[in-house]
């Protein structure tokens, strides 16, 4: 076991998180959130998505500012590469979620972090999306994430941070487990 004397400063307000956990235990309705994005086609495979607000704690919220994300396909797909490929956004989401979790768990366990670097790689056989082989799935055939972490903790404690973060990660769950998806359309 690693000994910790000082209080770690990872910039995570653990007291607020633990307070929310306690408060939401008895307020199941407030715990229901809705995450939202809108998007609009630009040209070719170029698309622009916007994230502005979300719903939670029984009310609407706005982000501090509106965020815009350009997605496109790379030039080898005969596209213009005006942004990251949509599947890469999935990796971006996974990295963001796992790393936020690592910081929160580290703070809760009073482990000082110095650097947390992740490398992510997803395998995909594009015979799936091209419809060449019906036995090949469209999506990833696996994702590999490697964390390189500098922290005041043993290798085993760091492994435990990363494991606990996966256990509590929303994006890890979204990717690793089936989710029901409904897509509708209307003519404007």
């Amino acid at each position: 076991m690693t000994k910790h004397t000082a209080t770690a400063t990872n910039g995570v307000n653990v007291a607020a998180l633990l307070g929310a956990r306690e408060a939401l235990k008895d307020a199941p309705e407030a715990a229901r959130f809705k995450w939202r994005a809108t998007s609009e086609w630009v040209k070719g495979t170029h698309n622009r998505a916007t994230v502005a607000g979300f719903f939670g704690l029984g009310t609407e919220h706005q982000h501090r500012q509106t965020y815009k994300f350009e997605s496109d396909h790379p030039e080898i797909f005969a596209s213009e590469d005006n942004g990251a490929t949509p599947v890469e956004f999935v990796l971006v989401g996974l990295a963001g979620c796992l790393t936020a979790g690592i910081a929160a768990v580290a703070q809760n366990r009073n482990i000082q972090l110095h650097s947390v670097k992740a490398t992510l790689e997803a395998g995909m056989n594009i015979q799936g999306i091209l419809g060449i082989d019906p036995d090949v799935r469209n999506g990833f055939d696996g994702i590999k994430v490697h964390y390189d972490i500098d922290a005041d903790a043993s290798a085993e404690d760091i492994a435990a941070l990363v494991a606990q973060s996966q256990k509590r990660s929303a994006v890890f769950d979204v990717i690793a487990n089936p989710t029901d998806v409904t897509v509708t359309a209307s003519k404007s």
Partner: protein, 431 residues
Amino acid sequence: MSESASRGIAGTADVVVIGAGHSGLAMSYLLGQRSLRHVVLERGEVANSWRTERWDSLRLLTPNWMARLPGYPYRGDDPDGYMSAGQAADFITAYATYTSAPVLTRTTVTTVAQSRHGFRVETSRGDWLCQAVVLATGAFNKPVIPRLAEVMPANVEQLSAHTYRNPRQLSPGGVLVVGASATGLQLAQEIQLSGRPVTLAVGEHVRLPRIYRGRDIQWWMLATGVLDQRIEEVDDPDRARRVPSPQLVGTPDRATLDLNVLQGQGVKIVGRLMGIRDSVAQFSGSLRNVCALADLKMNRLLAWIDQWAESNAPSGIGPTERFVPTLVGETSQLELKLGEDIRTVLWATGSKPDFSWLDLPIFDRKGDLRHSRGVADVPGVYVLGLPYLRRRKSSFIHGAEDDVRELSTHIADYLDRSTSQIKSRLRSVAI
């Protein structure tokens, strides 16, 4: 006049204990020592569920020398063995005889409701009026089966650990065992060895070696104080109470049963069962992480044991050991065709108590009994034997004693208070 008020009264008591298993009998013994008038109501025979609701090969997860009830240690000639369900039932029945417990067998409680001065316990053989009620009907009355079971294809047979007895019940062909607790692993092993290929769906689990440094792991957990850890010392009590039973089995060769052993015997491991779509079972991609978590937690416990052994130096122990990490293949399988690959699904997804016969305002929004360490939210109602009720050992046979000592004191104080309240009420009427 209500229907119940017109029913026959079988008797009155200070305390009615419901259930003549080890917890109810231990409570009865201590209530008797305090000369509290009580009766133990039992729907079947003493230790009923041990005789009727367990699979054939079940053995206790604790060695015999640990089996003890208040005033009654294990006296048999196989201290390092593990009791079968029948032997556990015999042990408990012998205790009932030894303590001359006031048990009424074949008396099924149908309702418990509040009455004017306490409770009315309605049974198949008349009603009991009492001041306090002890729920000792056990923690494992009914299987917890995920709602996914409802969309299982009709050509797949479904069993739970409650309805499973032995592999001969199962059709030939593949079996999916869902759940990686002691139950899931034990049943996966025996079914695989019966010649039916088993796939085991693994969520969060607790890995433990049977023997560590020459001693039973339960010896270490007892010696180091792990089993005595109190619920109020735990960071997350709700979670502690939900932790599945550790992957252990009690066999004559005291062998370890873990996912590596099972894979060596041909069992295929997959992630947690998350969905069924078009007769295809979908498994979580989190298998690697749940195995990593279990390995980390086991190693933390072993490090704690080593630290304790260092400072306490128990005699005759072996050198420190570390075990091979749980092996997870390069690619884990995410889907299985139900009906083709799998003919039978065995739900080893846990059990819960059945308190549906309580007509009391005592349940939370999820339908669980509201209580604080066995003292229910309705004054005068107590519950025993639930996982981590007061201590980590609460649901074990040897765990009953400490809980029952403390709760019987609470009951005695409660009865004193309610008696003095009635007396003061009578005085005010007299004035």
